[in-house]
């Protein structure tokens, strides 16, 4: 989120123009901002949010909060970084709220995991969108017999026992398959991230 290293693009200029109009009292141009940042923001939140958090809800709250404080933003700096700082606070507030709920402790809380996630918060937000794009490529490289598990689990959201029935495997084998699949995809994504990093 370092504003000094940020190189301005045409996108930034368009966003800044929209922001200036909103600062002058219009509401409609804020749509430009929402359209530009909804995907990176959701991707970042999806990765950073601990279990049990509604990512879309936090994304929307972040936009609303940004709109409310838009006069604090200095046009010409890095709007994305400014927005992600707000999103980070929104996420923190929601996480704190959840931690105070007894049910959350029983169902989700894994302190060590959250600490690890917090440690990764410093990664530039745009990395998550890059990861998402790499993931699409990595998915294409999977064989159909493996790819179907992704569709069943993440698109059709079917339970493990049904996946076992469909694939004629045991539930334990399906769990193992999902575990291996995520690891394989993780390695593929990170390999591509590293290659991109070394190229740039």
């Amino acid at each position: 989120m370092d504003t000094m290293r940020h190189r301005r693009t045409t996108d930034d200029t368009v966003v800044d123009e929209a922001v200036e109009r909103v600062q002058r009292g219009e509401t409609a141009p804020f749509e430009v901002v929402v359209r530009r940042y909804e995907r990176p923001l959701r991707a970042w939140l999806a990765v950073q949010a601990p279990p049990g958090i509604d990512v879309e809800e936090i994304a929307q709250r972040s936009f609303v909060a940004a709109y409310g404080r838009l006069h604090d933003y200095k046009v010409g700096t890095n709007f994305g970084a400014w927005l992600f700082t707000i999103a980070r606070y929104q996420l923190k507030t929601e996480t704190t709220r959840l931690r105070r709920i007894a049910d959350y402790h029983a169902r989700y809380e894994l302190n060590l995991l959250e600490h690890e996630q917090e440690r990764r918060l410093d990664e530039p937000p745009e990395h998550q969108v890059m990861r998402l794009d790499h993931l699409q490529t990595c998915l294409e490289s999977l064989g159909a017999h493996v790819r179907r598990f992704v569709t069943w689990r993440y698109d059709e959201c079917i339970p493990l026992d049904e996946m076992a029935e469909r694939s004629q495997r045991s539930v334990a084998a399906v769990k193992k398959q999902l575990w291996k699949l995520r690891r394989k995809l993780h390695d593929c994504i990170e390999g591509r991230m590293a290659a991109e990093g070394s190229l740039s």
């Binding site: 009292g25 959701r42 609303v64 060590l112 690891r183």
Partner: protein, 469 residues
């Protein structure tokens, strides 16, 4: 089983939400014992989340998200002041009396007014606003919206946010169209009453009575739009359809896609494909199966008992068929703001038949009139893809009274109808539009206007009729 295998099983169960407290404790212990497992878990969680997002992107509705977010922004000054003014009690009627205020009283009045305004602002800001689920995109005639809090608004205009509640179209010629935030459009016409709600992106519409047209964009999986009437419930994932709801039955016509309909009387369900109509009546012995709808039906004959939209039904007796007697109505113009006029009117709806108007169509009306009077014959037309198009009328300045059992029968060619009230925003010609309702009215008094039949005829029908004669 080694530690990593055990961890992989526990972790997968954790992601599936299938971990009980004992095994959650075991997972915590494993994570505490090995930092490498913490990293593996964080990597796996990240991939898991990205997979969820990647797979859902195909169904992701950016427009809906953007519209929903925009609707949650704090309202602008103009809208805000409008809202505040609505929350303040109505102003008493102005009188001719002139008040002369002394400077001190004036200052106090100004301070008091400012205090009231600040209080109103604070109340408004502190009270969380209801969530906008839709906006009015077109409105014509008398329309009323009762919001969740019981506040009634009659000043709906294009852009007015709808936060759920009851929407009513109050006259035979009133019409309103709303667009949900995902672009799904619903319109209501005639005497209609509907309760709109949306929770977690599932739209639920309780149509108590009246006519509805819906152009539904693809809905989230497992969250179909539900339309509930007195006799049926429809579930829609994305389609165009039309509903006519009455006390005893609901007819539903599908124009595009597929709609699943459940008859409430016995719970039976049926799937209605495009260009089909289904009727769900309270009587279980009636047919409940989709029938093909002639897409380009160009004729229609009213059944006054079933198609009555406004008026007093007079049952058949002593050799006289059933008829609809004109009933009084206070009409305030399309915008609801004109000087009220007393009309005596009969309205007949085409329901889901919705025949298409052709250049050589004629409208035949048969009825009685006790006294000579000026009679206006008119119809309301919809676009064939749904939604109100316009109103057209034909005035007969000197209709002769009928005697005894004698009836008048007038044939009015389509070209004999002009845009009602000369309103130029209606299409110039109604050719190609769908006939939605026919209305016949007199001004100021009823003149004993009684309608036995209304018919839309095409050229073939008239040729056939002539041959028979």
């Amino acid at each position: 089983m080694n530690t990593e295998d055990r961890f992989s099983i526990l972790w997968t169960d954790y992601l599936e939400g299938e971990l009980d407290e004992t095994r959650l404790a075991e997972l915590r212990e494993l994570l505490a014992s090995d930092p490498h497992l913490v990293e593996l878990a964080a990597d796996s969680l990240r991939t898991h989340r990205l997979l969820g997002m990647a797979e859902s992107e195909r169904h992701w509705q950016q427009d809906a998200f953007v519209a929903d977010t925009m609707a949650k922004l704090p309202v602008g000054d103009e809208e805000f002041v409008d809202e505040v003014m609505h929350r303040l009690p109505c102003r008493p009627p102005q009188t001719e009396r002139t008040w002369i205020l002394k400077p001190k009283v004036l200052r106090l009045a100004v301070v008091a007014a400012a205090a009231i305004f600040v209080a109103a602002v604070l109340i408004y800001r502190v009270t969380p606003g209801p969530r906008t689920i839709a906006r009015v995109t077109a409105v014509s005639g008398s329309v009323e919206w009762t919001a969740d809090g019981g506040r009634v608004r009659t000043d709906l205009k294009i852009g007015t946010p709808i936060h759920g509640g009851v929407l009513e179209t109050l006259t035979h010629d009133s019409w309103v169209e709303c667009a949900f935030l995902d672009g799904t459009k619903v319109s209501f016409s005639g005497y209609s009453a509907v309760t709109l709600s949306e929770h977690k992106r599932q739209k639920v519409l309780h149509l108590r009575e009246g006519n509805m047209f819906a152009d539904v964009n693809p809905q989230p999986e497992n969250r179909p739009m539900r339309v509930i009437t007195r006799t049926a419930e429809a579930e829609v994932l994305g389609t165009k359809f039309q509903v006519a709801c009455e006390q005893q039955s609901t007819s539903l016509r599908v124009k595009e896609g597929l709609v699943r309909v459940r008859r409430l009387a016995d719970g039976s369900t049926s799937e209605v494909p495009a260009d089909h109509v289904i009727v769900a009546a309270l009587e279980q012995e009636t047919e409940f199966a989709p029938r093909p709808h002639k897409e380009f039906a160009t004729t229609w004959k009213a059944s006054v008992r079933c198609d009555i939209g406004y008026g007093e039904l007079r049952h058949a007796a002593e050799g006289r068929p059933a008829s609809v007697h004109a009933k009084p109505l206070l009409w305030r113009g399309d915008d609801g703001k004109q000087e009220p006029r007393l009309l005596y009117i009969t309205v007949l709806n085409t329901g889901t038949a919705a025949p298409i108007l052709e250049a050589d169509s004629i409208i035949r009306v048969r009825g009685r009139l006790r006294e000579d009077a000026l009679v206006v014959f008119g119809f309301t037309a919809n676009h064939s893809q749904g939604g109100f198009a316009g109103k057209y009328s034909h005035v007969k300045k000197h209709m002769k009274a009928t005697r005894g059992e004698e009836c008048f029968e007038v044939d009015i060619p389509l070209r004999g109808f002009g845009r009602d009230m000369g309103l130029e925003h209606y299409p110039e010609s109604p050719v190609g539009l769908e006939l939605h309702q026919c209305w016949i009215l007199t001004l100021n008094r009823g003149y004993g206007l009684d309608i036995e039949n209304v018919e839309l005829q095409n050229r073939d029908q008239r040729t056939k009729e002539r041959k028979i004669l």
